[in-house]
Symmetry: C2
Subunit: 347 residues, 2 copies
């Protein structure tokens, strides 16, 4: 899943260079890291990238090791349920009994072996039980940025680290998030799903009948190699969480053993990055003198921070951002400002 924009990483992220194409933590882009991770588990012809028309040419050029035909292009952004549906159609047409996995292209995952073990458990559950399987992240703080998954601790599949799901909950308010965390049987929804395509289509038919109808029509067009843009554009946007997971039964969750971050902000980049002296993170060229806990991200630019703590300083070719680490969410306000002032050169 490599659509989406990621305004929170301005000035690094731009409309034409969104988060999944940035090297914000490693030496390669988030999308390339995701592809490389999956290539260790599966054949390259079994890996598909779903993205929008605007990004597809760039992804074809930048991402190595993916067959051009395996880049699935959404004619327009319709949120995750239709995007996954489109991918499922492509996969079904290649192999009827396939198990598919859905992975966001802009999340950080550390610990390949643990990741592979988790995914294999999920595949077993999806195959054996005909379930919708999701991967749940052990919550470390009462985040209001993620959906939550309540699981049954006394499930029969706990030898696979798998549990039947009681409820899928939307992003909670702070108080509710604290209650979720205290209860001990809630996990974060990391947006990773594993299921047989046949299970997926059955469940879509049951819970999202309109989308199901549209996908059937689109399938015919795809088989006949015809354009399906008009059909696609008539689809109502919906997330797979809200449209499917919150309504379906027979859902299992596998607890992730690996380290995970959705890298939702510059603060998250600071968190997951190795620290140098003074707990500063310096990516690119720069120095901190008499300062602590700063993040410098500097591209082709020498950046000096003197006598300051807890700042994020990001330099790109044409723009610079300075924001305290506890205010990184306000980068969105800046992007709104740039939109309002028609600064398309900076968006």
């Amino acid at each position: 899943m490599a659509g989406g924009r990621g305004t929170r990483f301005w000035p690094s992220s731009r409309i034409e260079n969104p988060k999944q194409l940035l090297n914000i933590v490693g030496d390669t882009s988030m999308l390339q890291m995701t592809v490389d991770r999956l290539k260790k588990m599966k054949n390259v012809e079994d890996i598909f990238i779903v993205t929008g028309e605007d990004l597809a040419p760039k992804i074809r050029k930048l991402i190595s090791g993916i067959k051009p035909n395996n880049i699935i292009v959404e004619p327009s952004g319709k949120n995750t349920a239709p995007a996954i549906g489109l991918a499922a159609l492509h996969i079904k047409n290649i192999r009827q009994d396939a198990v598919m996995g859905v992975f966001p292209a802009d999340h950080l995952i550390v610990g390949y072996q643990k990741f592979a073990r988790t995914v294999r458990s999920a595949i077993q559950l999806a195959t054996k039980n005909g379930s919708l399987v999701t991967i749940g992240i052990n919550p470390t703080f009462p985040s209001t940025a993620y959906g939550y998954i309540q699981y049954d601790p006394n499930s029969p599949e706990d030898h696979l680290n798998g549990y039947s799901v009681k409820t899928f909950a939307e992003k909670p308010h702070k108080k509710l998030a604290i209650r979720f965390l205290k209860s001990g049987d809630f996990l974060w929804n990391g947006g990773m799903f594993i299921w047989k395509t046949s299970t997926f289509f059955e469940q879509i038919e049951a819970h999202m009948p309109d989308l199901s109808n549209q996908l059937r029509k689109i399938e015919k067009r795809i088989i006949q190699k015809q354009d399906f843009t008009r059909l696609w554009n008539n689809i109502d946007p919906e997330s797979v969480d809200y449209g499917l997971m919150e309504n379906a039964n027979n859902i299992y969750v596998v607890k992730a053993e690996f380290e995970w971050s959705d890298l939702g902000s510059w603060e998250a980049v600071y968190d997951v990055s190795p620290k140098s002296k003074g707990k500063n993170v310096i990516r690119g060229e720069g120095v901190v003198i008499d300062g602590h806990n700063n993040l410098i991200q500097s591209n082709g630019h020498f950046t000096a921070v003197i006598g300051a703590d807890n700042l994020v300083v990001v330099n790109t070719k044409d723009a610079t951002l300075v924001v305290p680490r506890d205010k990184v969410e306000d980068v969105k306000a800046l992007v709104h400002y740039l939109e309002k002032n028609k600064r398309n050169d900076l968006l």
Copy 2:
């Protein structure tokens, strides 16, 4: 006086682009502003620039309205007493009875009419009394960055705003500076001097005999159009304040009526600049969202400061500085760091 380096304005100031050549407050360089101010009072052939060999070619190219022969080149930096001596030799050889004025090329002066009135008073005093005359700045806070001038409030020349000087004091410690300010009869030494060249050479002979001897020898070489580098290089460096003004008698000070700043740091630039909303100063392209009292100086770069107060953020083509306004003195530490790490590209 256009020598000197000004490391405090890194990353804008560089070895090859020191403070006097920067547009840090106006639309032209500090040196050009100084030249333009003096051109309103005097003929252009009477204005001389003293600078080092490294900067002379650049100044010839950048500064308009100065005759090439009026750029006086020091073979090496020897502090202000020799530099002023060299200028005095040139002036004396053009006109024996000249009154010369010495003005730093990197100070901000606001209020031309008041400046001209102050200088004219100083010229009168220098001519009438055969005095060394200096221009004193009314101190506004107990600065430890300037020398102080104690004057006699009951002087006979107070109709010219001129007073006889009791003592020239070096940069004081904080406690002493507070006492100076309280006493009410101290002014800041702004490094501006007016005197007849004949008075100057008499006083140099009396108080700096070694320099006096060297200047005599150099004078002969200049008259014979011969190179004087070797003689110059043997001169001991000394400031005119320490070598001459602290020892001489018959010194007068004229109180400056104009607004003055030596622009000693980015903080001084913030102080003298017009403020926009939130008391931010934005020079170049940039925006402050939810922040106050910041200085942004941005050259060909869009700079966004979000949710931060009291910061200095400076962008140049190849470097960025972020420092709290109350720590701008530490920019020197950064320049030392760059020197130590042989980052000549950034010096």
